[in-house]
């Protein structure tokens, strides 16, 4: 285990640090060697592990479902097609249940969100040290890198960039459809004419900033809560996996205890993994539904 030469704190921190590529303060580009360097890189840095894993898993989704889509026939489905159709129908039912307007984007969006997030969340169930250890070995032996500086955060949804990336995209879509469906005036009135409204024009104008403030908070809180909910759940889950993994360095008893705990937590976490993907998907559909209708 990597913790042999590390303190517990360092072990945990190591697990929670992204493999980051960016511009050092001195102007050179390269991988960050520790958390301090990542901070110094500022905005112009990229989490290579997040990008790789999200692309791999997104690619897996596209490949698997694309394969099924190419094979899709009206005949008796079998194997992969059966499974994919089951997922697609599940999403379609959910979207039909909560989205009433006609928009061809919503259902594929929901499908992509659900499957992608589910796959990214499922990386949580892989024992926390396997992939980082393998990466360290490869980087150490092939590229001669110091294993202590090789970070690999496998669970993409524990990176707030990934969850915000999705929720902000959804937010932009929400704004886009609000403008498109309700028009600028309709959207503006939705933000300023409620919840407080009055017949008196002067009162109306007085209420406007209050309404805008309240509705603005409501509007902004949607993407923030959407992404932080997913991030928080998965981050906490991953954290507990890491803490359990610490037990393995505590001897036979604690090792066995750790094994048992990890199994139990993983079983429980399957629920969270699925539930969070589902919640993200459903809320996205609900937000877009709200963007399509005056309320």
């Amino acid at each position: 285990m990597a913790s042999e030469k590390l303190t517990s704190t360092e072990y945990i921190k190591h697990h929670l640090t992204n493999l980051t590529f960016g511009q050092h303060p001195d102007g050179s580009w390269g991988f960050a060697h520790n958390a301090q360097e990542i901070k110094e890189m500022g905005f112009w840095a990229i989490h290579v592990d997040t990008m790789i894993w999200s692309f791999l898993l997104g690619g897996l989704f596209i490949w698997l479902f694309g394969k099924a889509a190419r094979r899709a026939t009206a005949d008796t489905p079998s194997g992969l097609l059966n499974f994919v159709e089951w997922v697609v129908e599940f999403i379609d039912d959910n979207v039909r249940g909560s989205f009433s307007a006609k928009n061809d984007l919503i259902a594929p969006l929901a499908l992509t969100l659900f499957v992608w997030i589910l796959l990214m969340n499922c990386m949580d169930l892989v024992p926390v040290d396997w992939i980082p250890w393998a990466t360290q070995q490869v980087m150490h032996h092939v590229f001669g890198a110091d294993p202590h500086h090789v970070y690999m955060k496998v669970v993409t949804t524990t990176d707030v960039n990934a969850t915000f990336g999705m929720s902000l995209s959804v937010f932009v879509l929400t704004l886009y459809y609000s403008f498109k469906i309700k028009g600028p005036i309709g959207f503006a009135s939705e933000l300023t004419m409620q919840p407080f409204s009055a017949k008196n024009p002067i009162l109306k104008i007085i209420f406007m900033p209050i309404n805008l403030f309240l509705e603005g908070i409501g509007l902004i809180s949607k993407p923030v809560s959407l992404s932080l909910r997913l991030f928080g759940n998965l981050f906490a889950g991953e954290m507990i996996f890491i803490l359990i993994a610490l037990l393995y360095s505590g001897g036979l008893f604690w090792g066995l205890m750790g094994g048992f705990l990890q199994w139990g937590w993983a079983v429980f976490h399957i629920l969270i993994v699925l539930l969070q993907a589902f919640i993200f998907m459903v809320l996205t559909v609900v937000y877009l539904e709200m963007a399509h209708h005056e309320h």
Binding site: T50, M51, A68, A74, E85, L109, G165, S169
Partner: protein, 156 residues
């Protein structure tokens, strides 16, 4: 919790995946599902139609059979009647023919009797003549006594 370029990268990746899904994954799958739904509905409708047709044709078949049975019964009854008629006709014919034969036979018998009677009469006349000759001792002139002899013969 470092917000950096990854945010943009992830957003782009997300949008690309959504776009790909919308273009190449969702429509064919949905089409397949819709088509299958339609096929199943059609199949069920066809089955229902088939069932109804089957029922109808069974009813029709039963009617045809009933009709055929009625016809067959009529034909058999007609044939029986005809047979009886034929038998009756044959009986009548036979009776007539029999009577005719009997009448003919009786006529013939009467004729035979008459002929025999004539012959016997002739023979008796001859015998009587011969007897008379013997009694009288001389020949009876047949021509001379023709009248008398004929009268005798008629009396016999």
């Amino acid at each position: 919790m470092n917000i950096n370029l990854t945010l943009i990268g992830q957003s782009l990746a997300f949008l690309v995946f959504v776009w790909f899904c919308m273009k190449f994954i969702w429509p064919p799958l949905m089409n397949a599902l819709e088509e299958r739904k339609k096929n199943i509905a059609d199949g069920l409708a066809a089955a229902e139609r088939g069932r109804k047709e089957h029922e109808l044709s069974e009813k029709r078949a039963a009617e045809v059979i009933k009709e055929a049975k009625g016809k067959a019964a009529d034909i058999i009854a007609g044939a029986e009647r005809r047979g009886a008629e034929i038998v009756e006709e044959a009986k009548t014919d036979a009776k007539i023919e029999g009577e005719r034969i009997i009448t003919a036979a009786q006529t013939e018998i009467e004729q035979e009797i008459n002929r025999a009677r004539e012959t016997l009469r002739g023979e008796l006349a001859a015998l009587a003549t011969a007897g008379a000759e013997q009694i009288l001792g001389k020949e009876v002139d047949a021509d001379a006594h023709r009248e008398m002899l004929d009268e005798l013969a008629a009396q016999l």
